[in-house]
Symmetry: C2
């Protein structure tokens, strides 16, 4: 399972029961939190997100609608007795703010927090199962996007076949990599008999607040699912530019130029109650688009 659950899809001021930005990416048994606006911990309870599965939190920038909920989430994790380490990736001042708030409350979290400062584009985490990269967006203050890529073995085991040929489980990893199996009698069982080709690995790019910038299409090139902000409809292109935000048409253009599989749009301005036009406008440029709706999980395929 690879998917993203929307906890908040609104821009700065909460409105029409829409919450500020927060998303949870599920990749098998790992959860990643992308931004953490005010009320994220309540949204997690509402949508039954298992906090203990979160080991990595990524904060795009220090405008409040993207991080004011972080201190509350950390405090609650502590009160609930969390012991596992948590890695937080964000701008350098984030650690100062969190540490000041913990200090004045005379609170020591019962779990280790590793703050990682975002300072250059590139790899943030790289494991056998996934990799996370960051890239710069263009906003009023420093702002980052993130790409989460799953890693997959090229081949998938056919259960009946490995049982039929009596292959010990310790060899499964080799089979997944495409190797043949040699049994005790010296017979070679070709990999093609024991496995099928796996689906290609998928990827999710989270493009937080940004001015329209063509260069971003290169950074998110070919991802399976791109999230791109659309704070305004197309008629407010000038306003979007002045506030370092993007419109529907601009998000669609990035998706098209980046040749992504599909597009998810969000960070809607509080001035809009109805969101239908966001979808129709974006689809004029990039048809495979969906509106980020709170509580909904979008598969990354």
């Amino acid at each position: 399972m690879f998917g993203v659950t929307i906890l908040g899809n609104n821009s700065a001021i909460p409105a029409f029961n829409r919450h500020p930005t927060a998303q949870v990416v599920t990749l098998n048994d790992q959860l990643f939190l992308l931004d953490c606006g005010e009320g994220t911990q309540m949204q997690m309870s509402r949508y039954k997100i298992r906090r203990s599965k979160i080991h990595h939190i990524f904060i795009s920038h220090l405008h409040g609608d993207h991080y004011f909920g972080l201190i509350g989430l950390l405090t609650s994790m502590g009160l609930m007795g969390r012991e596992q380490e948590l890695s937080i990736y964000g701008p350098p001042e984030l650690a100062d703010i969190i540490n000041l708030q913990l200090k004045v409350a005379d609170t020591i979290l019962p779990f280790p927090v590793a703050f990682h400062t975002l300072d250059k584009e590139g790899v943030l985490v790289d494991t056998a199962k996934f990799r996370v990269d960051c890239f710069k967006t263009i906003h009023r203050i420093d702002c980052w996007g993130f790409i989460i890529r799953e890693k997959k073995n090229p081949r998938k085991i056919i259960k009946e076949k490995v049982l039929e040929y009596d292959i010990p489980a310790v060899y499964y990893e080799q089979l997944k990599k495409g190797n043949d199996y040699e049994n005790k009698q010296g017979e070679i069982i070709p990999n093609e008999i024991l496995t099928t080709a796996n689906k290609p690995a998928c990827s999710y790019a989270y493009c937080s607040d940004t001015l329209y910038h063509e260069g971003i299409s290169e950074k998110i090139k070919n991802v399976s699912l791109l999230y791109h902000e659309t704070t305004y409809l197309k008629d407010l292109e000038e306003k979007a530019k002045a506030r370092f935000h993007s419109t529907t048409i601009q998000a669609g253009a990035i998706a098209a130029k980046g040749q992504v599989e599909s597009l998810l749009i969000g960070h809607f301005s509080s001035k809009y109650e109805e969101l239908d036009s966001f979808l129709t406008e974006t689809q004029t440029v990039f048809s495979n688009t969906a509106i980020a709706t709170e509580g909904v999980t979008y598969r990354i395929l």
Copy 2:
């Protein structure tokens, strides 16, 4: 109208759809915000609290469930174009935290904020219509309670009578204070004909997080409505003590000793889903008790 609307009644971890502490006191056309846990701005939208009527915010202490929502509320007030000054009363580090968060966001609020540091017991605000005092509670970190007292003229005008005697409106304030009226003919119209005795002025004491301490009953003596925390039921008195909180029985005892008119209890621990026992236990000590329920406004009489 003098009343208090509960926006959050839960202790540290939000649970069972209960929110962290925040209350709005309405005194005629003034609103006062007492504490501001995470999500307070959303609760204000939900319960139609008019933010523009808030000129004074009081923060009891710097545990997150009492103030993590403040920065979000201030930011949203700014985005909504507020221009009126806002006074914030709280522990000294509160201004540092808020100012740091504004600085990293490169945000300047479009309205003036006056931070008032709580450092000694006594009067915080004193106007013709109301007075607010603070007092110390006993908690793990510095913590304050607040008393809001309305001020009333001793007499109330009888409309038909002032019209009957043709008394100009400019004299009304004198009549309310109990003075007689002398007309152009030199006749004295006695105040008792023109006015009736006003209801006595009422008062609300907000006793935030505290260890049970008999001395608090002196500080909140004779108020109309006392809010006192009851984090735990009576069987957890030891736990309450260890964590600098109070039980039902202890809150009831403070209300009884303080000879208050009525008692409101809240700040319930997240371990309790059902709250009925909080009421029945407290009422064994002080019968005129109500449970602080979110969205409900309690009259201060």
